[in-house]
C-alpha cells in the first residue's frame, strides 16, 4: 500500500460498491478496482490519484461507471452514475435517464438507482413508440444502448 493515496477512503468506496465498478475520478481517468493494489509509492499515478481523491473527498462529487447489473448481466456500455453529498445524504443520479436516489450511503444509493434502472427498463420493454411519450421514447433509446433487449 502507498502513503500517497488516501487508502482508508478508497477502501471504503471499494467496499461500498460492486466488484465490477470502474472508478472514475476525473473524466479522463478510469481506474479498475484491480488497479488499486498496483499503485506504487511515489509513482506519478499515485500522486495524480492522491490529488484526485482529495478533490473528490472534499467536494463529494465523483462518478462510477457500472459495467454490469446486480443480476450479473453485462451492459453493452457502462452506466455512468454521478454521486454527490447533499446535506447528510448521498445523492446518486443518472442524468440522461432522469434517475435519482438519496440514501445514507453510496452503496445504498447505487443499489437503488440500479433497481430503478431495471424498473424503467421493464416498463419500456415491449412497448412500441405509439405507447411511449416523448421522454419515455428517449429513455427506451438510451436503455437500448446499454442493454440488448
Amino acid at each position: 500500500m502507498t502513503a500517497q493515496v488516501n487508502w482508508a477512503t478508497t477502501k471504503e468506496w471499494v467496499e461500498a460498491t460492486h466488484d465490477q465498478l470502474v472508478f472514475a475520478y476525473a473524466p479522463s481517468i478510469l481506474l479498475q478496482q484491480s488497479d488499486l493494489t498496483h499503485v506504487t509509492v511515489g509513482s506519478e499515478l499515485a500522486i495524480v490519484w492522491s490529488s484526485l481523491l482529495r478533490e473528490a473527498a472534499t467536494s463529494g462529487r465523483h462518478t462510477v461507471s457500472v459495467k454490469s447489473l446486480p443480476s450479473g448481466e453485462l451492459l453493452l456500455m457502462p452506466l455512468v452514475i454521478e454521486l454527490a453529498k447533499e446535506n447528510d445524504e448521498c445523492l446518486a443520479e443518472v442524468s440522461e435517464l432522469e434517475l435519482y436516489a438519496f440514501a445514507e450511503t453510496e452503496k445504498d444509493a447505487i443499489a437503488e438507482i440500479l433497481e430503478d434502472f431495471d424498473d424503467l427498463r421493464r416498463e419500456v420493454a415491449g412497448k412500441d413508440e405509439t405507447q411511449l411519450g416523448e421522454k419515455a421514447r428517449d429513455w427506451k433509446r438510451i436503455i437500448q444502448s446499454h442493454i440488448a433487449q
Partner: protein
C-alpha cells in the same frame, strides 16, 4: 421557487392528482408510473406518509419527474392545480405517443 412541503402532502397530491397507474411498493420509496391513456409518459418516486418537511433539493427531482415547473409544482401540492389541469399540462408537453405509420396516435 419551491416551497416547503410535508412529505405526506406531496404523496397525497401525487396519488390523488397524478394517479400513477402502476405503483411499485418494494423499494424504500414507492415508485409510480404515469400514463396518459395507454401512453407511458412519466415515472415518479412517491414520498412516504410522513409529516417531515421535504428539502427543496429533493423536491426539484419530484417536480421534474412530474414534468412540472417549480411554480406548477407548488400549485400542484397546494391544491391550486387540479388533477385535470395536471393532465392538461402533460398533454400540452407533447406526451402523446408517436403516431404509427397510419397516423394513429
Amino acid at each position: 421557487m419551491l416551497r416547503d412541503f410535508r412529505e405526506k402532502d406531496i404523496r397525497k397530491a401525487i396519488i390523488d392528482k397524478a394517479k400513477p397507474r402502476k405503483i411499485s411498493k418494494n423499494s424504500p420509496h414507492w415508485k409510480g408510473k404515469i400514463y396518459v391513456g395507454e401512453v407511458f409518459v412519466a415515472k415518479v418516486k412517491i414520498p412516504n406518509d410522513h409529516p417531515r418537511i421535504m428539502r427543496s433539493s429533493k423536491l426539484r427531482f419530484i417536480a421534474r419527474d412530474l414534468q412540472l415547473t417549480e411554480d406548477q409544482f407548488n400549485a400542484f401540492v397546494e391544491c391550486r392545480l387540479s388533477g385535470t389541469e395536471y393532465y392538461g399540462i402533460l398533454n400540452a408537453k407533447g406526451t402523446q405517443g408517436k403516431p404509427d405509420s397510419e397516423g394513429r396516435a
